[in-house]
Subunit: 204 residues, 2 copies
């Protein structure tokens, strides 16, 4: 789940740690980070509760590790293909397209969005802080892609990157919401239409 140096042979421990995180990801998609329990996770992985526990030291550290692992995957899933596109609108659209796919491929909810909702109103703590950082970082990625569009001349000079990033993000939230409740097909149609209208309106 996390990226490991390809040079060194991953130790046994690191391998099972990834295995555990893989199963944890499956579970957290359905029950959220707060619904993740070590006992159920151990059962799914096929090892003892204490064995799983020993890999992380605490439930909270397990949740943080999972959060990081998913975030890394998420960013790579979207950024790598996007970077192959020329900077500007093409790249931004690639990002949005992959982003829209992410929730679909990893059907039944995105852990990162669930986490954002789970901790957005919570008291300060390591988990909320981590979520906040991830969301901030990702928003900045989005803004950077938008700024490039402006620099390249694909979007109007007076485009408000913050505002556009917010709107794109909101549409992704809408996609996730509707896909989870009403079905992906219609949700994706609406989202695509909205994105098109949005980008066109900012086009130079």
């Amino acid at each position: 789940m996390t990226a490991t140096p390809a040079t060194a042979t991953p130790s046994k421990g690191a391998a099972t740690r990834e295995l555990i995180l893989d199963h944890a990801y499956q579970m957290a998609r359905r029950d959220g980070l707060e619904g993740l329990s070590i006992g159920a996770l151990a059962l799914a992985v096929g090892m003892s509760k204490s064995g799983v526990f020993a890999h992380f030291g605490s439930r909270e550290d397990l949740q943080l590790a999972l959060l990081d692992a998913v975030s890394t995957r998420f960013v790579e899933y979207i950024k790598l293909p996007a970077l192959k596109q020329p900077r500007g609108l093409k790249r931004l659209r690639a990002m949005v397209d992959r982003w829209a796919q992410w929730g679909h491929i990893h059907q039944h909810g995105c852990v990162l969005l669930s986490a954002a909702v789970e901790y957005d109103g919570r008291a300060d703590g390591p988990l909320r802080e981590r979520v906040l950082k991830q969301q901030t970082d990702w928003r900045n990625e989005l803004k950077r892609a938008i700024t490039l569009c402006i620099d390249v001349g694909d979007l109007k000079k007076d485009t408000d990157a913050d505002q556009l990033a917010f709107e794109i993000y909101a549409l992704m939230l809408g996609l996730h919401h509707d896909a989870g409740l009403f079905g992906y097909e219609e949700a994706n149609r609406h989202t695509t239409a909205a994105i098109n209208r949005l980008l066109t309106s900012y086009q130079s």
Copy 2:
């Protein structure tokens, strides 16, 4: 929490039931519907666990009751003022304005949105069904207000009510998301700007 006939004196039981639901609402705002526990709730209300339990018969029924109570409040909070506006754009804007306030007044998360995320990827069950119904109903309310705009002539004849309803809803999700993580002020600025641009673009 729920509306009670003002004529009949509410029985003691009904009164404490509301009291319980009030406290349950406060708790669910922070921990979600799945984080709601009868023990903690009883402690907050100041009565015994079994005393609280007896009012609902099961945890699930408590969750359903809370869901209904919040939904009723939500719809009333928004619809009643909106209905005082003339049908058309004024009414639609009133709805959106109040909607944006809802998450702010009831700071730290909206139970209905949390529930939507909690159950959008879950297996079928009474809770998911209830959430689905509520979300469907509310979306229809929104569509109806949009359709009235078209009929009255405030919006273009070829306006896609489904599409516009989706986009407005998405912006409200964005508002909730950003307000919870980054602060209400900026989130509301972005939302208002987006709504204005959106409605203007559909205006006839």
